[in-house]
Symmetry: D2
């Protein structure tokens, strides 16, 4: 999901007007809550091409509502600023020329304050439209609004992972958020959970929201398999490092080994040694490594090498999807917030709850699968600009499942397909081991 | 197959001693026949990092026999030259340090003549060993020899595609080979062949030779599908170009579009316009484009964009494998040669024969599939240096099926998995369209 | 002067205490006046490695006073922040590790407000020290303070040229400053001024301040020469463009031609055509090209090619230095400001005054010379960190003379040696033609 | 001289016809003698963009005679091959499009044999023309022929330095030439020679051949100076290394330090340690470092840093030119050869003779000066393609004086100006220290 998708899978049943209002206000408020500890300067920085400034995220998700809803459906709507279509478009070639991605950090203008004004302006127009739109428009408005909110939620996660990267580049290692209280870790058995396989149906079902890449639902033949009940922990990963994992070429994919050498990788992103002790940079600053937490910020290459070292393998997307269906969708995710409240630093933590078969199935870290991100049989993208790009990324990336500590509450589900390049490390990405039944 | 694989799938039934001798002499002779029109200077040039000089190929395949058979099993064997292990190793990290791949074109020494001496020396020792080895070694020798011959056949194809690239970089556009006679093209209906799908078994079966990546045989559920009876022709592809295919961003994968722009692609590799007419550089020099021949030298990105433009899609590996099983393994491939004879220029040609369902199923061009090159369920690489690298390339590449005009006769089969990066174009790579049944 | 120098040439006569106070307050106030129109976000952006953020400049010049004066001479001085030595050091390897130059734009922390606090803190301590220091320290404090102020003045020019580059990268093309009133251009003859040559003494003389690279004064034999009375104007340069100057390889130095091709140069930096008319981005936004103003933002390569096209040549440093000595040191430079006043946009303008022999000898644009930046015979850098780097840049750069519209009033003199790489264009750099007498 | 110059300074007095014949045959024979130990494969390799294959050199110098003499003046001359103008042109944009420089190593065709045929063909036509040309053409033919021979001599030096680089890239470290007998080193005092300075005339005088960049002769004022009687030896340079010279940033120019770090320089090019002992790759293979020989293959940056470490400086061009005038033009240079004889490996050696003031003033190693390569006052390039490029390289390079062990006998003189980029190391480049008188 280096680039955010957003086509919806299917017509979504229109919710009640009040529910839509509430959802709109909740999601939009969360975006602002996430930035509470960040200065306007923090929100401008772009630390690498893959990262976008916070301010850009705040404006871009607003641009979505303006472009696809207000311009299309609000009678007499006049855009807040004529230049914003160009500046805050991300990749929709059919909408217009975009401002080159690696140059987003140069946009000192519009100021952060102007972007907040932009948000307030669009919020007001949106709520007004939802209030007053004629009935025949309601299903379409509802569909687009829900889509825009899911789109904004995806960017909320990116806002967290991007600002983490930005702050990590500052030698002062600032802590932008308060740390959460320590996890009340539970003493649960670690082990393997077995699954029978056979004919399974994969992909989205039901009438809830889903992106189009989760469809069509289709039949797959699956061999029996087992999954580790816990994700791989920092403790586990440290053992891999100390066993010389980063020096053992025979553990690595060829392309991965080339990156290990060219980038000088010796540990997950954000790990660093101080006075002989491992620390990890977090959104609450530099902290001693929490050995009980799931390992995060590893690339696919590292996940794959770890699995080989451990005598196991990565699960396929189908295996994880089947397993996730059996678990409650709760966990360490990005919460809803009271108006005006600040967010605590999202970070992976030790398990606090058992699940049915798996611990930490949802939340904490996205789990790499061995499945490349490809179209499901019969997949057809939505027509027009909204669907323009959903199939475009189905090459060279791998699927991740289950959501992370930075995934907004309510956003993830078993059929959800996140995807990144195998070298990417700045997301909250970890892994869970698999093996034959 | 930018890097050549070679672990065998399984114990191969030992052939009769005479058969093995014959196979050894036939394959080794073909390598020399392929170089008949090339000077020692031609055989030294490396035109890009992915390309190896012909001389290097000739030595490297010989090094394989020396390292894995003669050093291991020929009593008292003394290597031909102590430096060759280093120079002609390709990527076997567990055997020793390699000479960096992009620097192979710097090796003016050893001379081409020395490499021929090296080949003759190793041939003599090999034939002697096969003659005299104790019976208990026979199965192992047979297994390794057959493996080495399959390895050499893979390099024979690379010798052709690599030297084609080398010569294409010379402004004189030399013709190193004689052209074959024009194809006796047949007037056959073009259309779609339907396949029923259902449960199928994929991967290698039987006791013939196969590489380990073709195993284990495993069950897959397949939906009904159709394949175009002919591969996409130069005529078809030209229509795509003339319809603005290379300018229509919405036809392309995102990563593909980036390459189109950065590389300035406007046609397949080797196509060029002279006086308003399309020509193609071939191993027999520059020639007018043969509109009836299958299009070759297109990347995965181009194949995928063409399929989208044509309202179809690329087949999966499973679909092509099932279809290939139903066809006779004949076609326009690299023939065996009489001793001392020269090879005609391999080039894709118009169909000369109908198959059962498909034309040109084998030979002419490797057909891109939409399937990433990944391990089959339960795949386990062979132990030791020979198996070191088979799984290493299972990332970021796509599977191709069916063999090409440069694939040695007898080398390809339905379960064969060739693989290249989606941007690669210097192989004889084309495509066949698929759609739902 | 891509990197700022600062060793003083010689002991400077200590000024009266009041004069030093006044100079300190004047220079320090100008730095803040220059930033009046810039937001804290503007002041954070780094648009290319050679550019530093305004905030970084403001802190770095302060760091100089803190490090070389307060830490060294203010009894019991405690640094404002322990991390600033690292963050705001520029290149003084003997002082400590520096924050990598291209990463200065990542420093959202310390905030702009903190940097202003840092400035106020150091200002207070400096004024206190100057007030109270024992008499025996006065000459040393005076020497270092004057050096620090000259250093800050150099950065004031860079603040202007750097922010111009930053704002030019914003598609909104913001105007950060008010434009000055149009020049009251005078109708003066253009022509050539002749100079006799012979033995001349070059380099700094007298007891005013100078940098060490202006010394030692030394004898040179000079042939008679002529200089154009005006610098090359935008009108002149436009004729060069319209005559195909950027396409005529025979006008260019070989290295210059390579840059023209690789960068796609077709006009000076900041020139752009709108609706068929040439415009120039300025610190007051995009404006129609002022044909009477001196051309600015050309590289050495462009200056050299223009001179060749014009049948003339660039002057040597010695020639320009001799000519500058005969002119009054006035012109279009960066003025002193009243407390709290904002600065008008510095920009080259049409000539408003005749000089003795030359117009616009000082100010408007730095004039490229054909002389490489090298040590004067007998040159010896100042010892220690302060002198550490003066000789370090004497390679691959060319000397420029005369100051520009962004050079602070009082900062330039005939012996002043500015220097940049021949490809650099973001300074206010222009040229004046020379020919034999 | 990364790119070879060749405009002559002035009309050269026409030599007798027999002398011209002899000179032609002598120079042309030397080119072939230099390649005696090299295979056609050796002669094809290009190991970096700055290096040209031997075969290319052999053809390019021949192309010069064909293009500028035979095509222009031999009635009815038909070019040997129509494609060669394109392939063997080097940089003369006014003659025609060139084959991109870094791709010269791809030219397996024309073969080495064809290039020898090309040479023989042009030699025959040239000798015939010189024999039969009408008298009025004699001065022009003589001028152009002498120019062409000087051009070929420049390439003879490059053939040696380029093939040395090529062979050094081969892990087998082949010795292409026989080593010369050890030097009969003489026990001479090392010390400083003083020169008075004053008014001196620089540049070429007299009626011998010179390149245009050696003119016009012009007056310069020079301060008294001293030069070290010997060039810096390997022993001297080793002391610099062992004293940590490559780790002491304060010894280095800023641009030089950047290269030291990015390239990982720790010693001169071609130095390598084997079993704890320093060795040097030579044209006679790898040999223990000769401590008495002048250090070679150092960049300007290294020469400058060494001089600073030694408490001295590099001489200016003027200083070295004045000093060279006082020395006999003899030394360790590339000799003339008997027909068919092979050349011994050129390599710097210990001094065998005292000079007047300096030892090894000519030959052994080119000596870096602190002078940038710039036009002499009043310099005007020759008109047309022959003079096209002489001024083009007067930027970013430094002058070297005195010739090397690979400079053909008779080619060098006091006014000769060689020039390379400060980072270049693959020539036989060394240094001699200077200081004030």
């Amino acid at each position: 999901m280096a680039v955010v998708q957003f086509s919806p899978a299917q017509p979504v049943r229109a919710p009640e007007r009040e529910d839509l209002h509430l959802a709109f206000r909740t999601v939009r408020a969360r975006s602002l809550a996430l930035t509470r500890g960040l200065s306007s300067e923090d929100q401008l920085v772009q630390s690498m091409p893959e990262v976008s400034p916070t301010k850009w995220h705040l404006a871009h998700v607003t641009w979505f509502f303006e472009t696809f809803i207000l311009k299309a459906h609000a009678h007499g709507y006049r855009p807040f600023h004529p230049g914003f279509e160009h500046l805050f478009n991300s990749y929709y070639n059919s909408v217009g020329e975009m401002h080159a991605r690696p140059r987003r950090g140069l946009l000192s203008r519009p100021s952060h304050d102007e972007v907040l004004d932009y948000r307030a302006f669009v919020d007001e127009k949106m709520l007004q439209l939802l209030e007053t739109a004629p009935t025949h428009l309601a299903p379409e408005l509802s569909r687009l609004t829900i889509l825009g909110l899911n789109h904004e939620e995806q960017h909320q996660e990116l806002m967290m992972t991007d600002i983490k990267h930005v702050l990590s580049c500052n030698p002062l290692l600032p802590a932008a958020f308060e740390a959460p209280a320590p996890a009340r870790s539970i003493a649960l058995e670690d082990g393997w959970a077995g699954y029978e396989g056979g004919f399974v149906m994969l992909g989205h079902a039901g009438d809830g929201f889903a992106f189009d890449n989760e469809t069509p639902r289709h039949k797959v033949w699956l061999r029996p398999f087992s999954l580790r009940t816990r994700p791989v922990s920092n403790r586990d990963y440290l053992a891999f490092i100390e066993d010389g994992g980063y020096d053992a070429f025979d553990l690595w994919l060829s392309d991965g080994w080339a990156v290990v050498k060219s980038e000088g990788w010796e540990a997950p992103l954000y790990w660093t040694k101080r006075d002989g002790e491992w620390h990890e940079f977090t959104l609450a600053g530099l902290r001693p490594l929490d050995l009980d937490a799931p390992v995060a910020h590893v690339s696919y290459y590292e996940a794959d090498a770890f699995a080989r070292w451990a005598g196991a393998r990565l699960p396929s997307e189908a295996e994880l999807e089947i397993a996730l269906r059996g678990e409650p969708i709760t966990g360490n995710v990005l919460p809803d917030v009271e108006d005006g409240a600040a967010m605590l630093a999202p970070m992976p933590r030790a398990a606090e709850h058992a699940g049915n078969n798996l611990m930490q199935a949802y939340g904490d870290v996205w789990e790499w699968t061995a499945s490349d991100y490809a179209a499901y049989p019969g997949f057809a993208p939505v027509a027009g600009a909204l669907g323009e790009y959903n199939g475009k990324f189905m090459c060279n990336q791998f699927v991740l499942k289950g959501g992370s500590c930075a995934t907004p509450h309510g956003h993830v589900r078993a059929s959800y397909r996140n995807f990144f390049y195998p070298k990417d490390r700045w997301q909250f990405t970890g892994l869970r081991l698999a093996k034959p039944y």
